[in-house]
């Protein structure tokens, strides 16, 4: 059980890292794309818009939180 938890924690850290909100945003944007794709409305624009917004929000949050102390490399 401990090994499984360690594996899942490692996988989470590898893929998602320290910004889970962006991961949730990507999942929601993919879901919206899938829903729109079943209609007559074009759906290809959803992901570019979502990525632009998520990146802006993520960078803005990081800049606000860490503007006085640069984070260590990772």
């Amino acid at each position: 059980m401990r090994h499984l938890e360690a594996f899942l924690a490692g996988a989470w850290e590898l893929v998602v890292g320290d910004d889970w909100r962006s991961a949730v945003g990507v999942v929601l944007a993919l879901a919206l794309t899938a829903v729109l794709a079943t209609t007559s409305i074009a759906a290809w624009w959803v992901m570019p818009v979502a990525v632009a917004l998520l990146l802006c929000i993520s960078i803005r949050r990081a800049a606000r939180d860490g503007s006085h102390a640069p984070e260590p490399p990772s």
Partner: protein
């Protein structure tokens, strides 16, 4: 090779070069300070573990239906790529410390020298080399698997990764020092752009939407993501001198 395959090869090559440079620094530090034989044992064990992961997961991924594969792997690749791109933008804006291989090498060497030394096989050296190569290699394996599986070209992705690792190892052997002159931070920026672009492209297709122009849309997506990332670097208030990436964008 078609456009997406060239993109695959270039992305995997750049990502693998960066990760291999980081792993090389750790191995060099413990190898030169303590024991080359134990360091190489650690490298060998990690390489076997990584090869097993790719060999096991590669065929399993490619067996999935293409739409499920694309939405699943495209989504994961996009989440992973956004993480790379976010860090690269923060580095370029001076909000995150840049990778400095020489500094990391010195720190690893000090730690290796300070650790107690055992007679014969050196467990410390083996463990540090194994963990360093495995952890850096897992990112490589993820990129090789996601890019390769999506285009059913795992062998091409693995070949690009192998070439990158070979060149870095040869460079390390020739220099006998960490490859501090590799423009690592700029390469990470480029990799973040490529991972995010391909993840967005495949995720959208997997979700059932078609891109205008099909595969040719990548020729627009990649430059747009790059332009957006450079714009963000410029928009974020800087806390130090302009970086390599910012200068490229200038």
């Amino acid at each position: 090779m078609n456009g997406p395959e060239i993109g695959l090869a270039v992305s995997v090559f750049l990502a693998c070069t960066v990760e291999a440079v980081e792993a090389l620094t750790i191995v060099l530090a413990v190898g030169t300070t303590r024991s080359w034989s134990s360091a190489m044992s650690g490298v060998g064990a990690a390489a076997v573990a990584l090869a097993a992961i790719v060999a096991a997961l590669g065929p399993a991924l490619t067996a999935l239906p293409i739409d499920l594969l694309r939405v699943l792997v495209g989504g994961l690749l996009l989440i992973f790529g956004l993480q790379w791109l976010r860090k690269a933008i923060l580095r370029a804006a001076g909000l995150k410390a840049k990778h400095d291989e020489q500094q990391i090498f010195e720190e690893e060497r000090r730690a290796a020298a300070a650790a107690g030394k055992a007679a014969g096989f050196d467990g410390y050296t083996f463990t540090i080399a194994f963990k360093g190569v495995l952890l850096e290699g897992l990112e490589l394996a993820f990129i090789v698997l996601t890019f390769g599986a999506n285009q059913h070209r795992v062998a091409l992705a693995a070949a690009a990764a192998g070439l990158a690792v070979l060149l870095v190892v040869l460079g390390g052997v020739a220099a006998r020092a960490p490859l501090a002159r590799v423009p690592e931070n700029t390469m990470k920026f480029a990799v973040g752009v490529m991972l995010s672009s391909f993840g967005m492209f495949w995720g959208t297709e997997g979700a059932g939407a078609g891109w205008p122009g099909g595969d040719a849309a990548l020729l627009v997506i990649v430059p747009l993501v790059l332009a957006a990332a450079i714009a963000l670097v410029r928009a974020v208030p800087r806390t130090d001198t302009p970086s390599e990436t910012a200068r490229i964008g200038a």
